[in-house]
Symmetry: C2
Subunit: 648 residues, 2 copies
């Protein structure tokens, strides 16, 4: 049964498993671990560990393979819901011993065929034995080509890397991530191949651990060895292990317990028996790992419930969306509806407008001067409302022009103005701001044309057009915005992009609620735009070269692409943005943007990543190009905007 109830959590990590030894009595294995042990599933060895195909042949043995019982001993749903197959751990496909290699390949194929016959959801593959894993990977890759829905989980020990001993030239094979990386590259990032981490008593550095959150990790096996004993004799985890567990839960990584009980729990057991009279009969048979499971349940239950916004956004996690094209397309009512609910955003705008009004009109002249404020891209009116509230709050007189190019939104705008009785203050202009011939000039130009990457919804081009009706000393809100990127490991996103099997999807930027990713270095700023732009040559193309240094204790890491953000200065110190270190809290209008790489780039420890970003403009469209120049060169992505562009 699940570890507990955590409001909002629908992830599989509520279910906890246990690794079991080979037994030919599977019903009993299930009864003991699930019914008496309260585990949700077992990771069970499928085949007699003594089996070797070459010995069978020599001994003229029976042709019945020594599997743990027939498929009939459990119901199909028991097999698929409660059993993860564990492949014989003796197999070694990269051994120098040709017979062992051949035995291993035959056994692996037999066991996976059997697991597939049982409709198991997943099988656990033993870790590669040595430094080389090519033949193992070749064989698994062959199997993956024909596999139905079963997942293959490659077991990888979470080995500590000690950065001091890592040199650029070494094979870095102390770092088990390298083995995983080799294996999955040889298997071409196959989406049915995942990792299961073996958690040991010592842990790698936080940066090294962090890489795994960008990989497809399905489970973490905690050996009883890595538990400490608390003052009451119960098993518990070290502080660092304790901190890791919620990270696993948050990333849908299931916990599996493994090993012998190493805690003397006579006292606990008798306590338990005294308090649970109903269980007296099975108390004798009580599962030795139950105290460990209860501790894991305790860690699960003490997590905070998911905040409402996170719960709302659960379905968007790591889901690729095409960015909006609000200039070329007209937004739909539903879209306006969603974004208008982002009260934080409008509060920030109201604060910025208030400050600008106060700066523009001294207190003593507040009843004499009427400020002309234009909302360009007024939509259904939220910024008009924020402007009027700012005027009311500051006691400044306002005349508002609400300019909107979407004729459908203008309908709503008209009824809002009528409803609110704003007819004397607000004029509605149904026009594209770039082409409107304004009857007077504005003191303040308010707009919210920002995309996840700042300028990617063409705010610069729109405001360049609109600023002709801004007074020489007028104020633009926002006054500037800057985009940011950093390299990320994002194997799920990479596979989703790859599944389209074309270049175009690798040359497209996506809006995505990033979750299952590893952020490999702090974000750096890319392009900045300032408004109004008083330069004579209004060139909105940009070029930026960035160099990222990955923290030395990370180890090697895979870059699948770049996460992008923006930060905008609305007015003076009032800002708005999603750049992680400065992001505005409780705002949900923007998910980050993701720029993929056609071929993931592996960064070795000590090497830096040089990436180039271009913002290119033609008379009809704006697009980005990007490419990595170091440690090795990628192709330039999206040349001439051939795959992805924003229409003017």
């Amino acid at each position: 049964m699940p570890l507990g109830e955590r409001p909002g959590d629908k992830s599989e990590s509520r279910y906890c498993g246990v690794e079991t030894e080979f037994s030919d009595d599977m019903p009993n294995v299930l009864a003991f671990n699930l019914t008496h042990g309260s585990f949700d599933f077992v990771v069970a060895t499928l085949m007699d560990p003594a089996y070797r195909p070459s010995l069978m042949q020599k001994n003229g043995g029976s042709s019945v393979l020594p599997f743990a019982g027939s498929d009939l001993v459990l119901s199909p749903s028991q097999w698929s819901s409660h059993v993860v197959g564990k492949i014989s751990s003796w197999i070694d496909l990269d051994s120098e011993d040709e017979i062992l290699r051949s035995d291993s390949e035959i056994t692996l194929k037999q066991e996976l065929a059997w697991a597939s016959h049982l409709s198991l959801q997943a099988c656990l593959l033993p870790p590669p034995k040595g430094k080389s894993c090519a033949n193992y990977a070749r064989c698994v890759n062959q199997i993956l080509q024909g596999l139905q829905s079963m997942q293959l989980w490659l077991r990888i020990p979470l080995v500590k890397t000690d950065n001091d001993t890592v040199s650029v030239n070494s094979d870095n094979l102390d770092d088990s991530w390298e083995i995983w990386n080799s294996f999955r590259l040889l298997c071409e990032h196959h989406s049915q191949l995942s990792v299961v981490l073996d958690v040991l008593s010592s842990l790698p550095s936080a940066n090294s651990l962090g890489r795994w959150f960008g990989e497809s990790v399905r489970a973490a096996i905690f050996s009883t060895d890595c538990f400490l004993t608390n003052s009451r004799g119960y098993p518990c985890l070290s502080k660092r292990h304790q901190e890791l567990v919620p990270g696993f839960f948050n990333h849908s990584i299931q916990i599996v317990l493994s090993g012998q009980s190493v805690h003397s729990l006579t006292k606990i057991n008798s306590d338990f028996a005294a308090n649970n009279n109903d269980n007296n009969i099975v108390g004798v048979q009580k599962h030795p790992l139950r105290p460990y499971l209860e501790y894991v349940g305790f860690l699960y239950q003490r997590m905070d419930p998911l905040p409402e916004q996170e719960r709302f956004e659960l379905g968007y996690r790591d889901f690729l969306q095409s960015p909006l094209q609000p200039l070329m397309d007209n937004l739909e009512a539903q879209t306006y509806e969603t974004f208008e609910k982002d009260t934080t955003k409008y509060i920030q705008y109201q604060r910025a407008i208030s400050k600008a009004l106060q700066d523009r009109v001294p207190e003593e002249k507040s009843s004499a001067i009427t400020t002309v404020l234009m909302v360009v891209g007024a939509g259904r009116g939220p910024l008009v409302r924020a402007s009027l509230q700012a005027a009311e709050e500051t006691g400044r007189r306002l005349k508002v022009y609400a300019v909107e190019k979407n004729p459908n939104a203008v309908v709503t705008l008209h009824s809002l103005v009528k409803l609110e009785g704003w007819e004397d203050i607000v004029s509605i202009i149904s026009s594209d701001m770039r082409h409107w011939d304004a009857p007077e000039k504005a003191d303040i130009l308010v707009s919210e044309l920002l995309g996840s990457f700042g300028d990617n919804e063409l705010s610069p081009e729109c405001l360049d057009g609109a600023q002709k009706f801004l007074k020489e000393d007028g104020i633009s809100i926002p006054s500037s915005y800057t985009s940011f990127i950093h390299p990320v490991t994002a194997s799920k996103l990479y596979n989703d992009v790859k599944s389209h099997k074309d270049v175009a999807h690798f040359e497209t930027a996506y809006v995505v609620k990033l979750h299952n990713i590893a952020r490999l270095a702090p974000p750096q700023s890319v392009f900045t735009f300032t408004h109004p732009n008083r330069s004579t040559d209004k060139n909105n193309s940009r070029y930026m070269k960035l160099k990222f240094e990955i923290p030395g204790d990370t180890g090697s890491a895979m870059v699948h692409g770049f996460a992008g953000y923006f930060d905008s200065t609305l007015y003076k110190e009032v800002h708005l943005g999603i750049e992680p270190s400065t992001s505005t809290p409780n705002m949900f209008s923007w998910f980050p943007i993701f720029f993929p790489l056609r071929t993931p780039i592996c960064l070795r420890p000590g090497s830096s990543l040089e990436v180039h970003f271009w913002r290119c403009c033609s008379p009809t469209k704006v697009w980005y190009e990007w490419g990595v120049a170091s440690p090795s060169c990628s192709p330039i992505h999206n040349s001439n905007g051939r795959s992805y562009w924003v229409g003017l």
Copy 2:
């Protein structure tokens, strides 16, 4: 006019060009260099070098761009046949100076648009100025996307790399190949982007130079500075430069001369005038680089004519062919015709058979014992003939069974036997050797079922089937064969494979007359098969891991795939093969095989290349899988033979 007549040479390298300064009198440039100078084409600056777009704008200059004359000054065919455009050498798209960068981009686009308007065949792009070339590459890549047929030639100085100073961590930017490699990777190996090498007075090591023969090099510019002076005062080249020139000619690399005459040639000119009275009038105007051109012509003319076999194979150079499937398909008459002409091959077989006959039957018993010899895969009979000739040569008595599965070839075989009067000696069996029920057992089994990679036409499987009718102590000719591979740079082949735009073509092996490639390390053996195979478990699957060390003075190099060969021991010391270091001379039955890589792998100096090859077998087919494991992992190619296999 061409450098000379060299029988068989149809390559463009017969034509020599000259680099000229900017002149707005193009007809005169052409007359001077082509008519008086005897050059075949000019590499001419298209635009006034003083032009800068930003200055034009400031000065309110005319909107007519300062090109060298209108398109009318030459005929369209003169432009396209005799002029290579030279892009302004001042451009620097990776400058820190934003104005220079912008001027450079505008100018580059204007010049290439103009060159395209003139239908020039090619334009020479100046070398990247600094360590970085990403913005230059981005701009060129954009232009390449829309370019019709014009070629872009990137000028790269052939800089000497000194291996002692190259460390793994350094940028290796002393090595100009690195710049080329970055540029072409950023431009995604575009097929219209090539290299022109600037040959300077000092040359890199032979291994470093060798890399360029796997790249798309179109021309080599020899500055007059790199010429020495011979005893008669004429320009000549150093021994190493001299050796390089025929290499260029052999790889269709055109020579371009450049610079001022640095040889005092008054004496030469007066000699010339005295001997060429007809030319007295133009003697005054004689082209200053003519003695250099004449020296290049001398180097061209002193090359040996192309051997007949090379001439015959010219059309096959670097042309990808699918390997034959003689087991699954029946060969056509034309194919038999071609291979039967390979007399060297049959002489080797005859030698092997003679030796085997002598070993098998002592001289004194030669008239008493009749040796049973079976030719399996007899085709239209060449090995039957070779066997009979060996019998005649050694005076041994022979009974021959000619087994052939292709019923069409059997028709020819019957008429051959009748024509030659071999009816008493030769029995023709129309059957697949794997299924024939032989009436007696053979002393000698002769076959030629070898592919370019040895076992790739399934000789092992066929001979395993045939050996059931070979006596216990019988002899198989061939007695063994081994495949070999080594890593190569082969940008032309890579682009040809890539042009199919699918994965399958990257997972296919090709038979190809390798020419425009760089061999990066000596070949190593892969799979060996020995016949007869007396082991009880006839397993013809194989697995081999190979590690190649690239010579230290090569510098970095690109691996586009692996060239494969075979060597076969027919009998004792008689061998037959195409492995370069031991290849049988004057044999043309086999071109090498080429295994491509989906993503080329760049080898840094000091790093080694680890590659894994598998020969996999199923009941219906045999296939290879291959993958690189170091310096980084490639995907395993051709998993389960999904893209390429040989049918049983």
